[in-house]
Amino acid sequence: MTNTVTKEPLNYLNHETGLWSWLTSTDHKRIGLLYMYSITVFFCVAAILGLLMRIEKMAPGQTIMTAQTYNGMFTIHGIIMIFIVVIPGLAAVFGNIFLPIMIGAKDVAFPKLNLFSWYLFMTGAMLGLYSQFANGHSPDTGWTFYVPYSAEASSNVVVALTAAFVLGFASILTGLNFIVTIHRMRAPGMTWFRMPLFPWSLYATAWIQLLATPIVGITLLMVIAERTLHIGFFDPSLGGDPVLYQHLFWIYSHPAVYVMILPAMGVVTEIFPTFSQKPVFGYVPIVFSSMAIALVGYFVWGHHMFTSGMSYESRWFFSFLTFLVAIPSAIKVFNWLSTMYGGSVDLKPPLLFAISFIFLFTIGGFTGLALGSLATNIQLHNTEFVVAHFHYIIFGGMGFAFFAAIHYWFPKIYGRMYSFKWANISWGFLFVGFNLLYFPLFIVGIQGMPRRYFDYDPKFQLGEALSTIGAFILIIGLIGMITNLIYHSRRGAIAPANPWHGVTLEWQIPSPPPHENFDEIPVITHEPYRFDHPHTN
């Protein structure tokens, strides 16, 4: 960007240049981009591991790697994807970039803390990678670190645990920052119920991050203590209780899945009204369903432990609450559909990804119900059905929402436009590849194929092989999409400030936004989604 002669107006991307100015910037937009770039790199690494696992499973028996390698691989794949990619994911990237803008603030409440979180995040992420390669022994416990195995396995489990701990801390600080920002920094006139729904979803998310993450923090510390100091909280030979570990782990990790999906829901809730030019249907129910998911989601962790020998009473209790937590999700789905209904629907790439989100999330969610029901969970627990469930809901849900978000806000972030044609083609590959990759796993899962299996019974081969083919199709779509975006972030046509005729605040400022977002802090006089008022642009 040095030899451009044309004078671009100053914005957050060009008002200062050089790597150093990025690494020390406390501008929320730049920090958001830092997260985006680092997360993308980690995503590619973990995705390639996923592909390698699929190749290994092309046929029964050993094909390209040993059992040890495979076990290490799904562990690190899971750790990266969960702790580094999807938990920070939307909140840290788009939350950082757009939360302050959407509520009419110049930055988050604690900008320095925000930068510090990113450094913590990177430290944790690096530790995670290091654990994979140090001493030639990758941890092979699965991302769940179940004891006693994780307390005995002779590998770098402690490093991996520390990594997860540090990442958790980064996530807590981000959540804390967002809550304070939302409480204290809203523009004048922006009452709680005039706040757009993406910030609302971040608000619900942030509470989970704040109140659930410390539990996994202390749990991981306990496992570390168990390994290094021989305190046997979970070790049965010292009187400890392995199932108690599972409780503590899932007290965090179930709410964590809502940390992944809530911002995704928030994103699509922004996209549907814009591309239908119609107000969000049921603003208030959507707000309350977010909060309800956050609250009830806190009490259902036991559904991951239905076969662990938990007491009968707990089992039906957790199953019952699990079903209740599906209701707020249902409310959201129906409200989204009604938002589009009667609108002027424009099928641009962001909307394309957003409706694929609904489709994939619905499948993922319904299979979640099959898992939440006691009788069927007995058959499905720890089979590849679970693997398919969470890939549908995480990758199909949160992942596709991420894709939707980047296609939606890309012109705002870079001030340029990507190619719609390439976006649509990539979408085709992604969508077809995705379903081919994961749908067969539902079937083999019901038939009893367990997860984390390096080798398998030949009777499952058809499903497994189809799934591998799906992975190859998916990869084409991913590469296509990433190339399209990277290329056009520099070379794309200059985008107008408000290409989609959105009405939330971020669309009322230039693209890319100026360094301090607003010349003048806006004063809000009405609800967020009003398309009938003639607005600027």
């Binding site: 239908s276 619905t362 099959a370």
Partner: protein, 310 residues
Amino acid sequence: METLFNQGSNLAGAVDRAFIFIFAISFIFTIGITVLMIYILIHFSRKKNKNPQQFSHNTRLEVIWTVVPLIIVLVMFYYGWVGFAPMRQVPKDAMPITVIGKMWTWDFDYGNGKISKELVVPYNRNVKLNLVSVDVNHSLFIPAFRVKEDVIPGYNNYLWFKPIMKGTFDIYCSEYCGLAHSAMLAKAVVVDSLDFDKWLADLQVTGNLPDHPGLVVMQANTCLTCHTLDGTKVIGPTFKGLYGRKTTVVTESGEKEVEANDDYIIRSIEDPNSEVVKGYNRGLMQPYKDKISQEDLQKIVDYFKTNAAK
């Protein structure tokens, strides 16, 4: 012939009813939502519909789509619960069998020192499995019977069923338990009551035969999960006829041929990665230096001598 969706036990029917109900509802809603979306995309597309309507709420609709799903999920919960409840109520007359899970095999203990590698059960009789783990978490999973419970050290978990179909069924370990998790398999064989009694009577008493001290050491160190005694190759080379065997090993400086004598065997245990048997991967076997005493190492070697290469 085992088909894919056998209902091998008395519990399977109710589980499958829950499956069918949940999947049917899911199917209807997923199709419905998809069709509606496509309809919206076509019917309200910007080309056709330039003037979006501006309605934004409807309380009656909100109530409907809160209450209807609520009722549906409650029914789902009910089906799941009804299918599950009997699983925890073991009939008094159930025949107890102790299942011992260890890295990475299953032992089925019929009492009186009778231990089998296969779970043989009588047709149409209630069976209770007591689940015991000697090391880490495992999980006993018999898909055809729709039963699964975790096998957790320090816990007395259990499950029960009544086999209602004769044949041989797969048993999997479905809780990750380390390297050979996917090889921790067994078979459940359902036979006539009479055949079962005969089989049990013929089952060798192995449980309380005194083992060779070397073998005991190896069992305690889970060597036999990677090495077999009967000549089959699992993760490491078999121990059958090890002593005195000529083996090609790969070292830092290249390949060489060695004869398995006392020294070599002890080296291979204490520091397996310096001389790796050709065709196997370095790093699979952990060094046991300082983990097994010299005394015990000698016992192992002594045991190998009892079935040396001919």
